[in-house]
């Protein structure tokens, strides 16, 4: 069972609907025990970082999420769920979960922000294989059956700027190049919405879940 963490923001139904389509059982929950018991966690999200962190705290979820991630539970962060993993978010200057080093910054170069729409993801295959040796997840497994430079759906004003560049598994260009996928140990996170990215998105979720969930 996959726990989709409910912290009061975001398109939770979108995630569970899509997981259902590929035959994955999931539950939307903010319950401590269910989160502990789950085989894998998804932190979804559209939304604002400050509201997101405030809601995580209100639901008493920050502590358990950090704990579960550190214990090695398979974790997928989507959009805001990726950004919250980092230390600091420019959006309202919020302290986030801090399980990954780096910050979250606003697009500077494109006139239109948020970025809304389909954009390409360049897979950073070889770099990760060599450097991110700690990752349980091999990049080619995550992108199995997904052509390089496929289009995924993005909706974001901010992007993650990891301190450790070797965790960047995919990059995208929107005025500037940014990290659109990161893989680190048990963590996979995407700036785009795989649950909204049609066939390639479904494939990525399938790859992720095949690897982690029996």
């Amino acid at each position: 069972m996959i726990a989709v963490v409910d912290y009061g923001v975001g398109n939770l139904a979108s995630v569970t609907n899509t997981l259902g389509r590929i035959g994955m059982q999931s539950v939307i929950t903010s319950d401590y025990k269910q989160i502990q018991k789950a085989e894998a966690l998804i932190l979804p999200g559209v939304g604002a970082a400050c509201e997101g962190m405030k809601n995580l705290s209100n639901h008493n979820l920050s502590g358990i999420l950090i704990d579960q991630i550190r214990r090695g539970k398979p974790f997928l962060g989507i959009c805001l769920g990726m950004q919250l993993l980092f230390e600091k978010n420019e959006e309202g200057n919020v302290q986030c979960l801090g399980v990954l080093k780096g910050s979250v910054v606003r697009y500077q170069k494109e006139r239109k922000v948020p970025q809304i729409g389909w954009n390409r993801v360049a897979i950073q295959n070889s770099k990760i294989k060599m450097q991110n040796y700690n990752s349980k997840f091999k990049i080619d497994q995550l992108f199995n059956g997904i052509p390089d430079n496929s289009y995924f759906y993005f909706v974001n004003s901010y992007y993650c700027d990891p301190s450790e560049k070797n965790i960047i598994a995919g990059t995208t260009e929107y005025g500037e190049e940014f990290a659109s996928v990161i893989v680190y140990k048990n963590i996979v996170a995407t700036q785009f919405h795989p649950e909204k990215s049609s066939i390639v998105g479904l494939q990525l979720l399938r790859n992720w879940s095949n690897y982690y969930v029996d």
Binding site: V9, G10, N11, L12, A13, S14, N17, T18, G20, R21, V46, G47, A48, E51, L80, R111, K112, V113, P114, Q115, I116, G117, W118, N119, R120, Y151, Y153, F154, V155, N156, S157, E173, Y174, H193, E195, K196, S197, S198, I199, G201, L202
Partner: protein
């Protein structure tokens, strides 16, 4: 590089998809859930669902239809109609919408835009703006399903809504709606140049050239159409193929 988006729109009335002309004389266009599944399959970049009579009938949106439709799509799904509060928006997001559009409710109470943007992020809040030309180079915002002239300039309202936190503008020309005589390129360009968020052009799509024109000359980030797709006059694939040949960046299908 971000692609231009092609977006089919489901205008809902009494549980059915309908097609109007200049926001009136509606004709039945089929079942929303079936149409949504078809467009999802055919390579639509997004789906817009508008419950067009929710406001005038003073009721909430058709949630069960939103839920059923959301289950059929793996592309972004934007929902609007009768949204008056943060709570309304939360319920629609819970039902499976990815973005929510506000229209009349936000003209009457602009702070709903900032409240929703604070709560869900501005990328979640779409300003649905229905404009009608009232004089040469002058457009007003019309509310209550296009029935009432708010007296507000469309350009000013677009700018204000963005400053309040709207993350995208769905710009419908009432004059062009349902005519299939082409988008209002002049209006679209004016709005798109004056705001810093994506603009979806809507109303008047009738030919392949119309799409190309509004996405280039009109500076639109996306183009929306309804009857053209519902009644199979053009398929999404044909539109994308044409744009691709015109060197306009689209997601291949």
């Amino acid at each position: 590089m971000l692609t231009k988006r092609i977006i089919p729109c489901l205008d809902m009335k009494e549980g059915k998809v309908v097609k109007g002309i200049q926001f009136e004389t509606f004709r039945d266009a089929g079942d929303p859930v079936e149409l949504a599944a078809r467009y999802n399959q055919e390579g639509a970049d997004e789906l817009v669902f508008l419950d067009i009579t929710a406001t005038v009938e003073n009721r909430n949106i058709l949630l069960d239809v939103v839920e059923k439709t959301a289950k059929k799509v793996t592309i972004p799904f934007s929902v609007g109609g009768g949204i008056r509060s943060v709570e309304d928006m939360r319920i629609v997001l819970r039902a499976g919408a990815d973005k929510v559009s506000v229209n009349t409710g936000s003209v009457k109470n602009p702070s709903i835009i900032s409240q929703c943007a604070n709560e869900f992020g501005c990328q979640c809040v779409v300003l649905s703006l229905d404009a009608r030309r009232v004089a040469p180079k002058k457009w007003h915002v019309f509310i209550n399903g296009g029935r009432t002239d708010s007296g507000i300039s469309a350009i000013d309202w677009a700018k204000k809504a963005v400053s309040l936190g709207a993350g995208e503008i769905l710009l419908t020309s009432i004059d062009s709606d349902g005519t299939q005589n082409g988008f209002d390129v002049e209006l679209t360009k004016l709005v798109s140049k004056r705001v810093t968020v994506p603009v979806i052009a809507s109303g008047g799509a009738g030919s392949l050239e119309d799409f190309a024109k509004v996405l280039t000359d009109g500076c639109a980030d996306a183009a929306l159409a309804a009857s053209l797709f519902h009644f199979n006059q053009l398929t999404i694939r044909e539109v994308k193929q044409y744009l691709y040949e015109k060197n306009i960046l689209v997601r291949e299908v």
